[in-house]
Symmetry: C2
Subunit: 767 residues, 2 copies
């Protein structure tokens, strides 16, 4: 190794930038340094001692130590700072500056020597031994390295029989998803399908204890998720009829009301709608304007739409088919307002004619879901008997007194809203099913479609292109993650829904609804783009998948609004720790923060970047937990600061809104990864290998997306973020042979997939 002092030699100085780059720059390889050494050392006019010094610096077998590099770097930097912008103009200026800084009187010789390196590295060939074999097309025709049926069983879970019934329904070509139909005909077709589903007993699954002996809702939810492989207008129409209209009676109605209505809801004898949103108040349900006054003389409720912004809007089933609806309305009894309540209001007679006082309009053509007849409803002092008040949680007694077992109006309101939770969960599941269909279409196409490639050989399959892998495989990973998160959530939901305080559950549903619908929509879009023009043809399903799921991020709770609900729930839990434990909890948080800071920012902190660590769920889970914890603590501090300054809560929430949304996203990411990691544990060994890679794609993808934040927090090092970026494409490469198995495991009926594309010759022989 050259002594650093040699670097001070004036004759050597013009070469210093080159020497530095030769080692500091990852782009110069071993062989290139060898050549540089040979050529530089062979320059005429160099003193032998300097030649030796140069050679030693470039000896590939003997890298300079960090101190030498640091000295070299310092010299370079001083030269740059001395010369300023000029030095950046090019080599001669910089070399000259280096020489002058060292006190050289005659730098010209060295500069000329440098310029004579004209052919430096120019003509060298065959010095690198790169992997040159092209990935074999056999990649996709080999059977996958795991048992696909076992993965299907893992995905299907405990109610596989219900899933198979739904698949059989979808496999019937008569139930193939519609497209390009006139709206009116499409709606009738969907209504007919819905009747078939009811006749098959699908609706019965929605009302455990009334129409089914099943102990909970999980069979209904599983059937719904599977039906979402098919026409999403049918899925949504079924969700409206059984989940929203029926669900409102099931969750908010008395036992008598349930028994009176639900059998007819399940059989579709009583088609109905769920009239909550108003044009003026969609997300903000508490401030709905529809007003219902109780009139004791007649024991009637008088439902009225006082302003145009109070018109009910978006109600599915309302434009055509609903005979009645659950109307969410402010309730006034004896001049006192009791907040939002639900009232069953008949809308049409047996012949489908609108009843007196009811006006119904059609929402018109939408971007998608045009098989669902969304409508608008205006009420003109419509009278219904007091028995139509859904009375599980609130009643008007014989003396005309309002009574509720839930004293707090806020809690009562959130109990009403609880009816939405099942719908949110179902929409999340439908988004995941749509993503599975879209990705299956696109990944199949990518293993058949060729374009460009080497001369005189078959063109390259799309999935062999790294950008194509990057386009699709992260979405496949996220789809699996969301699937497992929803499966875990469904089990808890089915077990606990309707039992007391389910706010924690609701926050989890909100988090996963947001994540699944956003990610599902993005997956379908990626699938469309990855299929090029074919993806734009309705016959290939992707357009309708995209248009139908576009609204999933909005309905059943706008994702941005839900994110704030999630964050506020996390903050409430956090605050309740303090309320229970007092300042010691606060101190504990500070101490944890100190621990985190010491753990991530200290000089002794290790930042492992080996593949095994990066790929391990434990590493990724630690990181996502750190992210959630940090964002929660800092959000709490920011909110608390504002509360102490007596800032109104709505303003405080607004000022930290982006922070809250980030917190909710961090929470959802963690939930998804936790479920995915848990699924790996439960999977057979061969399945776990392929799934493990996919899980790592998901976990590392989250870290990659938030790498800047992790760097800023000191949690990840620059070496790690680079290593993560490189690890992901390696995982893609390893996943390729399993891609077909990973999509086949969804077991999607062929009727739900794209039309076969007419390539008569798969390899497209060339002219």
């Amino acid at each position: 190794m050259t002594e650093p002092t040699v670097l001070q030699e004036p004759e050597l100085r013009p070469f210093l930038p080159l020497l530095y780059v030769a080692w500091a720059d990852g782009d110069l390889g071993h062989e290139e340094r060898t050549i540089l050494w040979e050529r530089l050392a062979a320059q005429p006019g160099l003193k032998p001692r300097l030649r030796e010094a140069l050679g030693a610096w470039l000896d590939p077998a003997n890298p300079p130590d960090a101190a030498s590099l640091a000295e070299l770097h310092g010299m370079l930097e001083r030269a740059v700072l001395t010369l300023g912008a000029e030095a950046r103009e090019g080599w001669l200026n910089l070399g000259g500056a280096m020489a002058k800084a060292g006190g050289a009187t005659e730098p010209d010789g060295a500069l000329r020597a440098l310029q004579s390196l004209e052919d430096l590295l120019g003509q060298e060939r065959e010095i690198l031994s790169l992997r040159t074999e092209c990935p074999a097309d056999a990649t996709f025709s080999r059977p996958p390295g795991f048992d696909v049926a076992a993965l299907t069983a893992l995905l299907d879970g405990e109610h596989a029989d219900v899933r198979q019934k739904a698949r059989a329904f979808l496999a019937d070509p008569r139930h193939r998803a519609a497209y390009g139909m006139e709206k009116g005909a499409y709606r009738e077709k969907v209504f007919g399908w819905l009747q078939e589903l009811s006749d098959l007993g699908f609706g019965d699954l929605a009302f455990p204890g009334i129409t089914t002996a099943a102990g909970d809702l999980s069979r209904f939810l599983v059937a719904f998720e599977t039906l979402a492989y098919g026409d999403l207008s049918l899925t949504v129409k079924a969700g409206v009829q059984f989940g929203l209209w029926g669900g409102s009676i099931y969750f908010l109605g008395s036992d008598a009301q349930r028994k009176a209505w639900l059998p007819d809801v399940a059989s579709l004898k009583a088609p109905g709608c769920f009239a909550m949103s108003e044009v003026g108040h969609g997300s903000n349900v508490a401030d709905l304007q529809t007003l219902t006054r109780y009139e004791h003389a007649t024991r009637e409720l008088v439902v009225h739409t006082p302003t145009e912004s109070a018109r009910k809007d978006w109600a599915g089933n309302a434009a055509l088919h609903a005979r009645a609806g659950t109307v969410f309305t402010q309730l006034e009894v004896d001049g006192v307002r009791h907040g939002v309540h639900a009232v069953i209001v008949p809308l049409r007679d047996a012949d489908g004619r609108t009843l007196p006082g009811i006006r119904i309009g059609d929402c018109g053509t939408k971007q998608g879901l045009n098989g669902v007849d969304n409508g608008r409803i205006w009420f003109e002092h419509v009278r219904v008997p007091v028995e139509n008040l859904l009375s599980r949680h609130a009643q008007i007694d014989a003396d005309g007194r309002y009574q509720s077992s839930i004293e707090s109006p806020a809690r009562r309101f959130f109990t009403m809203l609880g009816t939405l939770v099942g719908g949110r969960l179902s929409i999340a599941a439908a988004a995941v099913s749509a993503a599975k269909v879209g990705l299956t279409i696109a990944l199949r196409y990518a293993t058949l479609r060729r374009q460009f490639g080497p001369t005189s050989e078959p063109e390259t399959l799309l999935l062999h292109y790294p950008t194509h892998q990057r386009r699709l495989l992260p979405h496949l990973a996220a789809t699996y993650a969301a699937h497992f998160a929803i499966a875990d959530l469904r089990a808890d939901f089915a077990a606990r829904v309707g039992d007391g305080d389910t706010r924690q559950l609701e926050a989890r549903v909100a988090a996963i609804k947001g994540a699944a619908t956003r990610r599902g929509r993005d997956a379908v879009r990626a699938a469309r783009e990855a299929c090029g023009g074919q993806g734009y043809l309705c016959v290939n399903r992707l357009p309708d998948l995209l248009d139908d799921t576009e609204i999933f991020t909005t309905f059943e709770g706008d994702n941005t609004v839900l994110a704030q609900l999630v964050a506020k729930s996390l903050l409430t839990n956090f605050r309740q720790q303090f309320e229970r434990k007092g300042a010691s909890a606060w101190v504990r948080v500070l101490a944890q923060r100190a621990v985190d800071l010491a753990a991530v920012k200290g000089p002794f902190t290790t930042h492992p970047s080996d593949a095994a660590t990066l790929r391990s769920p434990a590493f990724q889970l630690d990181a996502l937990r750190f992210r959630e914890r940090s964002l929660l603590q800092s959000a709490a501090a920011r909110v608390q600061k504002r509360a102490r300054a007596d800032m109104p809560a709505s303003q405080a929430a607004n000022e930290v809104q982006e922070h809250l949304v980030a917190l909710a996203e961090a929470h959802a990411d963690l939930l998804l990864l936790e479920s995915f990691a848990a699924a790996l544990e439960a999977a057979p060994r061969d399945v776990a290998v392929a799934l493990g890679r996919l899980c790592a794609v998901f976990g590392l993808g989250v870290l990659e997306l938030h790498a800047t934040w992790f760097l800023e927090e000191g949690y990840l090092s620059l070496v790690q973020t680079r290593a993560i970026r490189r690890e992901i494409p390696r995982l893609f490469g390893e996943l390729l042979p399993d891609v077909s198995g990973l999509i086949d495991a969804f077991d999607i009926p062929e009727t739900c997939l794209a039309a076969p594309i007419a390539f008569d010759d798969p390899a497209h022989p060339r002219w």
Copy 2:
């Protein structure tokens, strides 16, 4: 200031994490430290000397120096490492460990003291003086701080008269964008509109020197861009008729062919199509399979579709209206293949009946653009006279010999493809127009629509929510950036198209087409989501904007394919420097890299993070130039390595594909920012203030998106990335009063915007 040695006092050690966090953690403010100080110092049982030490540490007026903090940090860290995971469990463990590490025999007293801080900070109020005023709703009703007409003039540029004619056409309610129509009726409506446009002379603008006295294409391009405010089926249909069908004759035809065809193309007497893509070869045009053989005996060309994958696909106008088409086909003369050429082939007779040997199918229902009749064409040995070969660049002479003024088959091919460049530019412009419409709809809605907010006050306008600003304003900034980049590009394109080697221009068009279509589509999607359910109704235009622009990222060149074209063009330029200048160019690159490394990674490097610097285009441009240069140099090195290893070019390109796509994106970002910054210079002062903020939103947004990369390269510091993240929302806040002006400046006819939404009372009075 306390002497660091005081930290060693055993009694103080349990408090050390708290002390550290009090200073190291940005969340503890001045006032909070004051309280902490008062309370801690007031603890009974503390020795006066220690009380003084604590007080000094927490004295808000006197922060500890870095060395003291570092010592404290080291102590903490050692304690954490000693105790391992246990210390992370909570405060008492950690405090105990700190005490023990200091050799304390009786830490209990201190721990008790700490626990007695039960009410620490718990009940404090009004110690912060945060800004509490809510942003006034007047924000959006005040006139903007600049002259909107001046901005419109800046945007409209030199052919404002053509734009006004296009606006007048769109302002006619008969030309309002269609939706929900049956495909057949929609196509006829669009054809009728196209005839009206032709009658108004719009088509004439497309052929300078033939049908218009204008010297170049810029008036056509400007009219096209403006028409894209309206129905995009009409825009695309017009692009097919005049730009592609007419353009192929204009650019590839002889003078005689131009004169024979173009007047009828312009008047729509000769509706035609552009049959390039085949189902088997969309992006890879060089390997098209349609084959045309020259038969000397009859002086005829015989056009044939040899396989199913060779069928022409997607050709707009083909399914219904085209009477003829330009068919791109392999040309074989006397048994020799000469590559892809263009031949005019008649398709239908005057009554619209398909001619013998021609089979035409309908591509069917698409996600959008259903007013355009895309078709498929099969040729069964169709004979046309040799005069139908478009013969600007290649001819078959009277002796049956093939001749071309362009000797290189590759160059000849790229000259043929040059016909696509105008289409690409036009699609980029249409995407920007669609984004302007979508953002105008969403931003108007956001300044009218209220939801949630403080009790007993009007609800909050959507645009006052930070997440809503984040959703829309970056897209507005990108839309302006793309507008200016396209305007600059259009000027160069109009001046230079058809003149010799335009590959540089083509690469620029490809870069901007990719950026504008991706960003435009994303802007429209953000607009849809920001309008919630209203955005899903076709009457509000957003669904069709979204569905129509969805394919913009695919057609006229798939964006991923174009990105590689851009990157390869940059690499070629880079390589040509070496070919011209030899190794000295390579040395210069290495020297520049050394300069860059020294400039960004050195300890003396300054990383300014003040608002003025961050907001300056110079700062942002420097960063984007650094990014482009770095990605180019490293891409070149990676490609060169593989070339030296004799790796086939297609494989080498594949292995670095993601790198190439990143390079193309970096290049496009730079082009957009350069044009935006140049526009600021040209704008009147008051306009430049508002535009300058928007430009900073764009430039800083790019830096934020790639912050991890800039951190890894050492170009940005962690302080800077944090500062950038905070600066962007500040810019949003400053932009709010100008938002209305910034969208009004687009001067979009009301007929092109959303239906008015029926809110009878803007403030939605509450119950």
